[in-house]
């Protein structure tokens, strides 16, 4: 067996190929970003060049930018594994794990849920309000033990309910979920604003927000410092949810139904899957995960609900795409985007390159991930793979009882 054979077999293994493509997409977008930074560095003016290539001076130094972006997100992790920037990275990752897997579940069921943002907002608000109300009943350690799971449950329930709406509309009224979820995002934001302002406002604050939750009612900041708004517990919970969803999809009957209706609805129907009900339940599950993301955002990062929730829901779409909608892959993709989000702050502070660059990188990564054929082509150029007849569907006619139908 020669090297080419083994390389070829590795590339054919789909999970591995998926990983290779994602990695290649990341590298390629970094390369494009590199050029972009240099170009931007020529468009702006500065006293002295930050870097120069081939005798041309540039105002921005891409190497510094990437250094800040990727390493900055980890802080000085070896000297101080609990440093604040690393905590921020992980806390962003935690929320993205929820929104990413929320989108992934819907995707796997063949539904394009763009409404995770709205579901997250609804879950977050419901969590903040209900935990606040319940926090008068218990306190102390018992309060934490009871209130945090309660808050998560409420967030999940409300998210599920809000996710079920477009599910119902799709299943029983044939309404395109892309449209309804986009609309429902706007509605969620506006209604949350109204509710907070008119009914749940914190009278002490000028911000449109609810009264802060007592310390015992939020995620305890296990191991990490309280000020960093990160809880290892929440992170572990998120990881457990990812594994749970993976097991659910791969090992359970309903997971089988969901996946089947996602890739081949006709076959699912044939196999006894109730298509409309699967649509509704999948959307409810996706919404519940989005709602959980909102609950974690409230219970770990913010400590209350405030209007102007960051776009975790939309980021979830990109996370899920990068992960190939695989719940376990979502973990890694969430970490990458967590690094990008946290790193962009370091870039903003530590360099003069506009942090929106990270947004461009994100778009490029998704663009490249969307075109696996491009990388396969390059791969074929590099290895000049021979086509392996056994692994290819027969094109037309020929052996094996196939017909030209």
């Amino acid at each position: 067996m020669n090297l080419r054979d083994s390389a070829e077999r590795l590339v054919r293994a789909s999970a591995f190929e998926r990983f290779l493509i994602s990695a290649a997409a990341l590298l390629l977008s970094i390369a494009v970003g590199f050029v972009l930074i240099l170009a931007a560095g020529r468009m702006t003016t500065c006293g002295t060049a930050a870097t120069s290539f081939l005798g041309v001076g540039f105002c921005y130094d891409p190497i510094t930018v990437y250094d800040r972006l990727f390493l900055g997100a980890f802080g000085n992790v070896f000297a101080d594994p609990l440093n604040g920037q690393f905590a921020t990275t992980l806390s962003e990752t935690t929320v993205l794990m929820f929104t990413g897997v929320a989108v992934a579940v819907a995707f796997r069921a063949g539904i394009f849920n763009i409404g995770t943002q709205g579901q997250l907002v609804v879950g977050a608000l419901a969590t903040a309000v209900s935990v606040l109300a319940a926090s008068t009943l218990v306190s102390g350690l018992l309060g934490t033990v009871l209130l945090v799971p309660f808050g998560l449950l409420v967030g999940a329930l409300f998210g599920a309910a809000y996710g079920a709406i477009p599910g119902l509309l799709k299943a029983y009224a044939d309404a395109n979920e892309v449209i309804t979820t986009i609309m429902l995002n706007f509605v969620a934001t506006s209604v949350a604003l109204y509710l907070v302002q008119d009914h749940f406002a914190d009278p002490e604050s000028a911000a449109t927000q609810t009264v802060p939750l007592p310390d015992y009612a939020v995620f305890p900041s296990t191991v990490f410092r309280p000020r960093d708004d990160f809880s290892l517990l929440a992170f572990l919970f998120a990881a457990a949810v990812l594994v749970g969803i993976y097991v659910f999809l791969e090992r359970t009957s309903f997971g089988y139904d969901l996946r089947t209706s996602g890739i081949q609805p006709e076959a699912a129907e044939y196999g006894g899957v109730d298509a409309p009900r699967t649509v509704v339940t999948s959307m409810a599950l996706s919404g519940a995960l989005g709602g959980l993301g909102g609950a974690v955002y409230v219970l770990m990062i913010l400590g209350n609900f405030q209007t102007g929730i960051p776009s975790y829901g939309f980021d979830g779409i990109t996370v899920s795409i990068l992960a190939g909608n695989n719940p376990l892959g979502v973990g890694f993709a969430a970490l990458l985007f967590g690094v990008l989000k946290s790193g962009s702050i370091v870039v903003d502070v530590g360099t003069d390159v506009p942090p929106q660059l990270v947004g461009v990188l994100r778009g490029l990564i998704i663009l490249f991930v969307a075109m696996p054929e491009f990388f396969r082509m390059i791969g074929r150029r590099v290895w000049t793979f021979e086509d392996d007849p056994s692994s290819r569907p027969v094109a037309d006619g020929g052996s094996g009882g196939e017909t030209d139908e």
């Binding site: 972009l36 931007a40 468009m43 702006t44 394009f112 509309l169 299943a171 029983y172 009224a173 044939d174 309404a175 395109n176 892309v178 449209i179 309804t180 986009i182 609309m183 429902l184 706007f186 509605v187 506006s190 209604v191 604003l193 109204y194 302002q197 008119d198 129907e269 298509a275 409309p276 779409i317 990109t318 795409i321 506009p354 929106q356 660059l357 990270v358 947004g359 461009v360 990188l361 994100r362 778009g363 490029l364 998704i366 663009l367 991930v369 969307a370 075109m371 054929e373 491009f374 082509m377 094109a395 037309d396």
Partner: protein, 350 residues
């Protein structure tokens, strides 16, 4: 499909009828009691200024929707319209700033949007990318790139103010009650009507339009008829870039500024455009009408707030357009998407 039984349809008709009836009741009540909420609402609904606002708000959405129609009719779902609007909105202002000419700005916006659409086309057609994901990528790239460029050039996500395009008023005609708004508007509004008419004509009466339709319905039929499907699709996607480019430039140049914070000044208009053309069943005229329905509701909610009609909290009034879209979609949700939309096609595929 088993979920769509006959019962659903008749239920839809009943609710749809009820909505029409409700409007009729409102009209009667409005006429009988002009000082009531109903009366004031009717007053606002029939005001020339409401139509004028509707038209202005329609421009970017309608252009993007026209672009979306061409792309999707040809079989390429272009969910990146939002991104095309964003990039055109920024470039429009930037080039106006640099050249001092608004029309150069419009041209610049169109070019930028078309270049981005070309990238999208190559990725989808050449490299068989998933169209929806690639479209999202186009949106994300523009969402990052425009504010990035603004930061580099203007030091902030918002650009400076530049010259704007004024209104063109047609004497006399502009005095017609209500419809006068059609003759007292910016050049973009007129351009919008021209574009809608031309698009309709192109799709339904020209050879190119036929090829576009065939390419989205049955690309193989077109291929076997000897027309290069990929070229038709390239042309259609580029055209969607041109049209969305006009829309984006019109958006920022009616105002003279590009604002790039958060969702940028485009703020979902590209997605609304998708809603509009789906609603309008891929018909340019239908798309314009549904755009105007949405824009009209948007204009209405602003006026309702100011005039304090119905004592509903303001954030809730703002949801009117969105809720309406959901309700209408639920009632008349069925749209017939082109058979091959979203599918990659390569000649010789069997």
């Amino acid at each position: 499909m088993s979920s769509d039984s006959f019962g659903d349809l008749s239920w839809r008709r009943v609710v749809g009828g009820a909505a029409v009836l409700g409007l009729a009741v409102l009209a009667v009540a409005g006429v009988v009691a002009p000082e009531s909420d109903a009366g004031r609402l009717l007053d606002i609904l029939t005001a020339q200024t409401t139509l004028a606002a509707t038209l202005r708000l329609s421009v970017p959405i309608a252009f993007a929707a026209l672009g979306g129609i061409f792309a999707e009719k040809s079989g390429v779902i272009n969910i990146g319209l939002e991104g095309l609007l964003i990039i055109a909105a920024f470039t429009g202002v930037y080039l106006t700033d640099v050249t001092g000419s608004v029309w150069m700005g419009v041209l610049g916006g169109v070019v930028a949007s078309t270049v981005l659409a070309a990238l999208f086309a190559v990725v989808c057609i050449e490299f068989r990318a998933d169209q929806v994901i690639a479209g999202l990528a186009v949106w994300l790239i523009a969402l990052g790139l425009a504010p990035f460029a603004s930061q580099v050039v203007y030091g902030g996500p918002n650009t400076t103010s530049v010259e704007t395009v004024g209104t063109l008023t047609i004497p006399l005609l502009s005095r017609i009650p209500f419809f006068g708004a059609l003759f007292d508007a910016t050049p973009f509004v007129y351009l919008m009507f021209v574009a809608v008419a031309l698009s309709w004509y192109t799709i339904n009466r020209t050879t190119f339009g036929r090829w576009v339709r065939a390419s989205g319905e049955n690309p193989k039929a077109l291929d076997t008829a000897g027309v290069d499907v990929q070229r038709v699709r390239y042309a259609a996607v580029l055209l969607s870039g041109v049209l969305a480019g006009v829309g984006g430039a019109a958006l920022s140049l009616s105002l003279g500024q590009f604002t790039g914070n958060g969702a940028t000044m485009v703020n979902g208009k590209g997605f609304i455009a998708i809603v509009a053309y789906l609603f309008g069943n891929y018909n340019p005229v239908g798309a314009l009408l549904s755009t105007m329905l949405f824009a009209g509701l948007d204009a209405l909610q602003l006026t309702l707030q100011a005039r304090d009609v119905f004592a509903v909290p303001k954030p809730l009034v703002r949801t009117i357009p969105y809720v309406t879209v959901i309700v209408v979609l639920a009632l008349f949700g069925r749209t017939r998407t082109p058979e091959a939309a979203g599918d990659h096609y390569e000649s010789g595929d069997d």
